[in-house]
Amino acid sequence: MSSDRRLLLFNLLRGAAAIFLALLVATALIFLSSKEPLTALKYLLLGPVISFKSTGMVFNTVSFLTILAAMTPTIFSGLAVCVMFSASQFNLGGEGVIMLGGFVGALLGIYLKLNTGLHQVVCILAAAVVGGLVMLIPALLKVKLGASEMVTSLMMNYIIMFIILHFLNFTFADRSKGATQSFPFEATAKIPEIVSNGTKLTWGLVIALIFVVIIALFMYRTKWGYAIRMVGINQSFAQYSGIQVGMIIVLSQVIGGMLSGIGGSIEMLGRYNTFLWRELPGYGWIGITVAILAKNNPIFVPLAALFIAYLDKGCQLMSINSDVPFEMIDIIQAAIFLFFAAEQFLAKYRQRIVVRNAQRDLALQEAAVSREGKLS
C-alpha cells in the first residue's frame, strides 16, 4: 500500500475513532442517567431506520425519508461554513442569515402572485441576494477595518432575529391566529414534496444535492474557489502571488451568506405553511459541525449532514421511548466536534507515517543526487 493512501486511510480511521469516542461518551452518560439504558441505546442507534414491532425488526422507510428531509437545511449551512472556513473566515452568522432567508422567502411566498415554478425561484433567489448582502457587513468590516468577523457576525445573529420578530409581530402577523405567525404562503410558492407521505421530503433536498456539486466544483474547479483556498491556507502567499486577498475574503462570506439564505428559504417554503420561527433555528451551528466533519470539503457535506440528521432523529426517538432527554444530541455533537477538530488526536501514529514517508523520500533523493553527481 502506498504511504499516501496509508495517510488517507489513517485520516478516515481517525475520524471514525473520533465519532466512536463521542458515541462512547454518550453511551456512558446513558448508562449513568437512565433506568433503561439498553432501550435508550437501541432507539438512539437503530431507531432512526428500524421499527421495533412485536413480529421483529422492520426497515422504517418513512423514518428514513424524514431523516433525508432533515438534511436539507444543514447541507446548505454546512456548505456555507465550508466556503467561509476555507478562507479562514470564522464567520458565525449563518444562524441569522438562515432565519432571514426563511423570512424573505416567506414574505415573497405570501405577497407575490406568480406562477408556480417561477414563484419558488424568485423567493429563493431573493433570499440568496439578501443573505449575500447581509454577509457583506462583517466581510467589509473585516477587510476595511480589521474588525473581527466572528464577533460582528455573532452580534448580527441577534440583530437579525429581533428585527424579524419586530416585523413579524407588528407588520406581517396573521391576527386571526392565536400564536404569532405570518399569513400562509401561496400554494404556488411551496416547494413540493417528492413523495407525499408527510415526511416533508421535498425537492429541496435535490436542490441541496445539486448545490453540493456546484460548490464542490466551485471550490476545486474554479479560479475563485482556488483563490479562496489559497487565502485560507496562507494569506501572505496569496497576496504575493497576486491574488486580491480582500476581495476574496469578501467573496467567501458573500457566498456563505447566499448559501445560508437559500437554505433558509427552501426550508421555510418546504417544511412550513406560514412563517413561525420565534427564535434562531440552530441550523447555522449544525452547519459548523457538518463542515468540520466534512473537513471543509463540500463533497463530504451530505454524508456529514446525514450523520447529524440520523443522530438527531435517534435522540428524538430516544427521548420519546426512554427516559433520556433529546438534548443528548448537543453533548454528542460537542464531543465529536472536539475530537474531530483535534489535530493532535492520535497524532503519534500520523507522525510515524509522515516520518516513514520523509525517510523514504530522502533516500530516493540522495540516490537521485548521487546519480546526477556521477553524470556531471
Binding site: L29, V151, L154, I159, I329, A334, F337, Q344
Partner: protein
C-alpha cells in the same frame, strides 16, 4: 415621549438596574480580558456561563447554602475552561472550535443535565427558594445618602464583587509576578520561553481564571438575576462580553466602561419596552448594535493609531 425617556433614565431605579444588568456582562468580560492578555481566545464564555449557572443552582439546592452554589459554579467554570485549554493546547483543536463545542454543551447539555439530575424540563422552577438566592447588602453609610444610596446600596454580594474584580484584575495583571508573566506570554511567547517561563502553564492559568469569572457570571444569572435557571437565560451575554473586551481594548477598566455601555443598552431596552407604542424587539437590538458600532469605532481608532505610528503602512 422624549420627556418620558429622560425621566426614565435620570432616576435612581434606572441607575440601580443599570449596575445590576451590567454585572454579569462584566464578569464574563473580565474573563475575556484575562484570556486575551495571555493570547488565548475564549469564545466558550457563553457556554461556561450556562453550565455554571445550572450547577450554581444545583449545588445551592443540594447543600441549601447559597455560597456553596456560587463556589460550585466557579469550580465548574474553571473545569470547563481547563477542558477548552486541554483540547486547544494538547490536542491542537482550534481554540475557537473548542469554545463553540462548550457553547453547544451550554445550550443542550444543560437541559440534558437538568433532566438527568432532577427530571425537570428547561428550567429549575421551584428549586430556588428565597434563601438560596445570593443575598443583597445594604451599605450602612451610603444607604442613607438620598439618590446615591438608592443607586449604590442594596445590590447582591456578587454585584459588588464584579466591580471589585475590575480592580483586582488590574492589580493581578499589573502588580503581580503572575500578571507580568501573563502579559509577557500574550505579547511575546518566545520571550517568555527564552527565560524559562512556560507559555502553556501560564495560558492554562489564564484560561482557568477566565473560566472562574464566567462561572461567577453564571451564578449571578441563575442565583440572583433570573432567580432560577432556564434554558434561554444567558442570551448571548458571553458573546457580548467578547465584544465589550475588544472595545475596552482588553484592559480591565476600559472593559468595565464598555460593559456599562452594553448594560445601559440593555437597561434601556427593559425600560423602553414598557412604553406604549415602542417595539420591544427593536429596542432589544440596541445592545447588539451598540456592540458592532463600538467594535467599528475601536477598529477605526486602531487603524488611525497605526497610521500615525509608522509612515510605512500608508499604502498597505
Amino acid at each position: 415621549m422624549t420627556n418620558d425617556l429622560l425621566l426614565l433614565i435620570f432616576n435612581a431605579d434606572f441607575l440601580f438596574s443599570l449596575i445590576r444588568i451590567t454585572a454579569p456582562i462584566l464578569f464574563a468580560a473580565l474573563g475575556a480580558v484575562i484570556a486575551e492578555k495571555a493570547g488565548v481566545v475564549n469564545i466558550g464564555l457563553e457556554g461556561i456561563m450556562m453550565i455554571s449557572a445550572l450547577f450554581g443552582v444545583m449545588f445551592a439546592y443540594w447543600t441549601q447554602l447559597w455560597w456553596v452554589g456560587v463556589l460550585g459554579a466557579l469550580v465548574v467554570g474553571v473545569l470547563l475552561a481547563l477542558m477548552i485549554g486541554f483540547f486547544a493546547f494538547e490536542l491542537k483543536t482550534n481554540i475557537i472550535l473548542a469554545g463553540i463545542a462548550v457553547n453547544m454543551l451550554g445550550a443542550g447539555g444543560t437541559i440534558f443535565l437538568l433532566s438527568m439530575l432532577t427530571g425537570m424540563k428547561g428550567n429549575t422552577g421551584a428549586l430556588v427558594t428565597r434563601e438560596l438566592l445570593i443575598p443583597t447588602i445594604n451599605i450602612p453609610l451610603i444607604k442613607s445618602i438620598p439618590v446615591l444610596g438608592q443607586v449604590l446600596s442594596g445590590h447582591a454580594v456578587l454585584t459588588y464583587l464584579a466591580f471589585l474584580f475590575v480592580w483586582l484584575m488590574w492589580v493581578l495583571l499589573y502588580k503581580t509576578p503572575l500578571g507580568l508573566n501573563i502579559r509577557a506570554v500574550g505579547e511575546n511567547p518566545d520571550a517568555a520561553t527564552s527565560i524559562g517561563v512556560s507559555v502553556q502553564k501560564i495560558q492554562y492559568i489564564a484560561i482557568a481564571l477566565s473560566g472562574a469569572m464566567a462561572g461567577l457570571g453564571g451564578a449571578f444569572m441563575s442565583m440572583y438575576y433570573s432567580q432560577g435557571w432556564n434554558s434561554g437565560m444567558v442570551a448571548g451575554r458571553g458573546f457580548i462580553a467578547l465584544a465589550a473586551t475588544a472595545m475596552g481594548r482588553g484592559e480591565p477598566v476600559g472593559t468595565m466602561l464598555s460593559s456599562l455601555l452594553f448594560g445601559l443598552a440593555q437597561a434601556l431596552r427593559t425600560k423602553v419596552s414598557g412604553i406604549q407604542g415602542v417595539s420591544s424587539y427593536l429596542v432589544s437590538v440596541i445592545p447588539y448594535l451598540v456592540t458592532i458600532i463600538g467594535l467599528v469605532a475601536y477598529a477605526i481608532s486602531i487603524k488611525n493609531k497605526l497610521k500615525k505610528r509608522s509612515p510605512a503602512s500608508k499604502g498597505a
